[in-house]
């Protein structure tokens, strides 16, 4: 039992190291097309900014999109953790932003984020 403990810890740490562990980009695409497509698209700015290249990008930098001052002045870089915080509670993440839409379920967020990772 004692010998197996480090392995168990390693598994837990590996899982924690990546939010995308087990995340399903295909399901994320379905969720995106159901919930996000009202305001967003991958390629073009609509009511919300385009998501192409969002992963690793500084918040408020989609070309040609009219961001709120709050998002423009934010120093967030979009990655698994910041996107997860944002989607869980946009107002708590960047107070004063314009997005009123949250994704309360953690699994849904993980799948959406995994899909956004592919939007290059």
């Amino acid at each position: 039992m004692k010998k197996s403990l480090p392995w168990a810890c390693a598994v837990v740490l590996a899982a924690q190291a990546s939010f995308s562990f087990g995340a399903d980009a295909a399901r994320g695409k379905q969720l995106y097309e159901s919930r996000c497509i009202g305001c967003h698209s991958i390629e073009d700015n609509r009511a919300g900014p385009a998501h192409k290249g969002v992963f690793g990008r500084k918040a408020g930098m989609a070309k040609g999109f009219d961001y709120s001052p709050a998002v423009k002045s934010s120093r967030l870089i979009w990655n698994e953790r910041t996107l997860d915080r944002w989607l869980a509670n946009p107002e708590a993440t960047i107070p004063g932003n314009k997005m009123g839409f949250a994704v309360p379920d953690a699994l849904d967020r993980a799948d959406l984020i995994e899909y956004l990772r592919t939007a290059k």
Partner: protein, 192 residues
Amino acid sequence: MNQLIVPGRRGFLSGTARLSAVAVALLAGKEALAAGHAAAQADSKDVDILNVALGLEWEGINAYTLGAQSGLLQKPVLDTAVRFQADHKEHADTLAGAIRKMGGKPVEAKSLADYAKALKADTLKTQADVLNLAVRLELGATNAYLGVIPAFKSPALAQVAARLAADEVMHWTILNSALGRPLPAGGMPFGA
């Protein structure tokens, strides 16, 4: 494909009555939030959400313009598209009026060319292509309205969002039927 439910004059008249009820609800929401700094902040956030919704309505109005101008829609589909566009214009007027009453500035529509580019209007080659675009936008708008309901500080505005979502569902259902598609399996398919 051409068998759509074409709304009659009575439907348009009831739509006018619906606008008045919405306007009353919006005014009630404004009055309820009139006092204090916290209320002002709530107003500001609600205005932001309303402006995003207005942006969606502008997009919907222009999408139906693109569809109508494409020459791809035939009667009675064209008549129904024009009717749905009128609904979206009514939504936009209601939202813009509420934003102004709350001290905000309504977002303006972009140019038709901008919407054509964003919606890839150049790829529309058949009536079914136009209907598919409309179905996608109506579903997106439905889910957007349902998704922002919990974020409204004003219950009256949350109710308005729910009523707007109901209109979008009505549009989606008729367009989906025109495409010959079945109803969704199971209950509560929207907002999920």
